[in-house]
């Protein structure tokens, strides 16, 4: 294949990598020189997590074309699996970065397994039915984790599934020196926060490599073929279920890794953090960034995550402003009248340029 042509096709990919690396360098320099205040620094890791969430959800919604309203569920699985891993290995592995990496791998693995199990029923459905079932699974995951009691001591992990709601952390019967990792509805408590901005950057880069290279492969083309015309995709020999599953599980695994990083960024984290509203939040990032547009997901995440923080001085009005911005953006980008007007403008502009070119 012509390398130059290939480069041209993948130009947006390289642009995305360059943008992320540049942003990382600039922010790191700023951070080192005290250019960021405490609350700004505190936003860095969550933004990285949400970027990975948005890019991975874009794989499901934009590339595969299935509306998922339960993406936070996978983040949740990853977060708690990651926290259990990191805290469970606290006395075994002294190096925090190694524990963090392991936690993210374990988080991704468990999220992938759950994604596979959920995918079996979910991917048989389509459209709004699929959406409502993913929402249902997200809520189920949230409630199941709310029932979890987990502790660790010299004997290893102690896990109780507290269905009746009558048990407490003391029922774990931990030995002297053991610690409780997850306390039911309170979620993870006393977690040692080992998440770092660098880890977030690396995770974003890994996510980008996986998602963008996947899109440009035969597998990615197959996934998009299923999205564009399922029947035609089957007719050219594409195993539709396998590719839907591939996209769904990859998306879940990446969300799990992001969840693990997120979970290890807070000393206390309840399962209710990963509810339906979080799934919606990420979906908003994806849709406003543009379906299938990876760079768009990144930019939309950064802007929309910072926006409510930036509006903090407006205090109680900020979510109202956020809602209005959301509606207005949707109305203006999708309004047929404005759309034709924009196209006319572009045409006019293009024509003028042509005229200038011929006139010169």
């Amino acid at each position: 294949m012509n390398l130059k042509k290939r480069f041209k096709e993948a130009k947006s990919d390289y642009f995305t990598y360059a943008g992320v690396i540049l942003a990382f360098i600039v922010i790191s320099v700023l951070k080192a020189n005290g250019g960021l205040n405490r609350s700004q620094t505190g936003l860095l890791v969550p933004i990285c997590c949400y970027i990975v969430m948005a890019v991975s959800l874009n794989l499901t919604v934009g590339i595969l074309g299935d509306l998922s309203l339960g993406h936070a569920g996978f983040m949740s699985v990853g977060a708690f699996a990651g926290v259990i891993t990191a805290m469970g290995l606290y006395n075994v592995i002294p190096s925090a970065p190694v524990r963090l990496a392991l936690a993210m791998i374990v988080g991704a693995f468990f999220a992938a397994v759950i994604g596979f199990l959920i995918g079996i029923p979910v991917l048989r459905l389509t459209g709004d039915y699929l959406a409502i079932v993913t929402l249902a699974f997200g809520e189920i995951i949230k409630e199941l984790i709310t029932c979890l009691l987990v502790g660790v001591d010299a004997e290893g992990l102690h896990i109780i599934f507290n269905v009746s709601g009558s048990k407490t952390a003391t029922d774990l019967n931990l030995l002297e020196g053991g610690r409780v990792i997850i306390k039911g509805a309170q979620g993870a408590t006393g977690t040692k926060t080992i998440a770092s901005f660098t880890a977030g950057f690396i995770l974003i880069m890994i996510t980008l490599v996986i998602v963008q290279n996947l899109i440009r492969s035969r597998h990615g083309r197959a996934i998009m073929a299923v999205r564009d015309n399922r029947i035609a995709a089957e007719a050219v020999g594409i195993p539709v279920t396998r590719y839907k599953m591939m996209a769904f599980v990859t998306s879940a695994a990446l969300a799990g890794a992001a969840g693990a990083l997120f979970g290890l960024n807070y000393s206390n984290l309840a399962a209710t953090k990963f509810d339906f509203n979080t799934s919606i939040l990420v979906l908003v990032f994806v849709v406003l960034g543009g379906l299938g547009n990876i760079w768009g997901s990144i930019i939309a995440t950064v802007i929309l995550y910072i926006l409510p923080e930036a509006l903090r001085s407006f205090a109680s009005y900020r979510m109202l402003i956020y809602a209005i911005v959301l509606i207005v953006v949707m109305l203006t980008t999708n309004n047929p009248v404005l759309k034709t007007y924009r196209e006319q403008l572009r045409e006019k502009f293009g024509k003028n340029k042509d005229k200038e070119a011929t006139g010169a």
Binding site: M1, R218, H219, G220, A225, I231, A232, A233, A235, V236
Partner: protein, 301 residues
């Protein structure tokens, strides 16, 4: 199939070499009590055999007692009035619908347990009456999707862009461009499939189907919506496809001149049943066919 063993296409020169060549047609010979195939294919297993194929939709026999054999290099036609069940036959052959009864043998092998994708991999490719392209993807990508199963690199080399990825992608792209060139679409390779004019979309759909390396190509009304000159070109192309790729073609078509000019065996369907079968000459003079198309004498005109 591995990426290394991709079938080499005949160079486009062969394609262009004989623009006026007559489409080769042989007399039909019977192979079973009800099925005929062209003489030259008679010593080989037919590429497709349908035995007593049928499907029922809620008590309605949409297709019943359908028997057909197609030779390995035959161009066959499936005709009949609207609603006769022609597209239903295609849907049965490609397993979009599951037959209620009967057997389909592809190259002598039963395809009962296969799904649509597996049937394609086993050797049946098709186009659709209402064109089904991947509209938001480029023309080149449409054909590359057709070549999906001709590439063999796994997800790992896809994500890491290992050498096997580059090798297979390069071969596939070259192949895809060859297919596009055959159908005069090479200059549109980077355009979105949905932006092509109608006739070009039909050609692209055929190119995509051929890219899956079929041994039997099903064309559902390939000439629908085409003007006479486009139809004439299509007719020529169908002959060339058969001669270049050495495959069998079964087509549904309402344009009688096309069917009568290029098909060797023709099957006429009405109300889900075969009412006539044979060479174009047999069909032309068959009273049952005339009745099905023009109505009974003295009936409503």
């Amino acid at each position: 199939m591995t990426s290394g063993s991709l079938r080499v296409l005949n160079p486009p020169g062969v394609w262009e070499a004989k623009p006026d060549a007559m489409i080769k047609r042989d007399p039909l010979v019977p192979i079973t009590r009800t099925s005929y195939i062209p003489e030259r294919d008679a010593d080989k297993t037919p590429i497709l055999e349908c035995i007593d194929l049928g499907i029922t939709f809620g008590g309605l026999k949409a297709v019943d007692n359908f028997n057909l054999a197609i030779g390995r290099t035959e161009i066959a036609g499936l005709i009949g009035p609207n609603g006769a069940g022609k597209t239903t036959i295609f849907n049965l052959l490609t397993k979009v619908y599951q037959p209620t009864h009967g057997t389909i043998l592809l190259d002598g092998k039963e395809i009962a347990n296969m799904n649509t994708a597996q049937v394609n991999r086993a050797g049946i490719a098709r186009t659709f009456q209402n064109i089904r392209l991947f509209h938001n993807q480029t023309v080149l990508d449409n054909v590359l999707i057709g070549l999906h199963n001709e590439m063999d690199y796994g997800m790992g080399s896809a994500i890491l862009h290992l050498p096997s990825y580059w090798r297979a992608e390069k071969i596939a792209r070259d192949r895809a461009m060859e297919y596009l060139t055959l159908f005069h679409l090479e200059q549109h390779a980077d355009d979105l499939a949905g932006s092509l004019p109608y006739g070009a979309q039909r050609r692209l759909e055929i190119a995509r189907a051929l890219a899956t390396n079929p041994s039997l190509l099903l064309l559902d009304e390939p000439a629908a919506g085409m003007n006479p000159s486009e139809t004439a070109e299509l007719m020529e192309n169908i002959g060339k496809i058969r001669d270049t790729f050495h495959i069998a073609i079964l087509l549904i078509e309402h344009d009688m001149s096309l069917v009568m000019n290029i098909c060797e065996g023709i099957v006429v369907l009405n109300f889900g049943r075969i009412i006539a079968k044979g060479s174009p000459d047999d069909i032309r003079s068959n009273p049952a066919v005339i009745e099905a198309y023009l109505g009974r004498k003295g009936g409503k005109s």
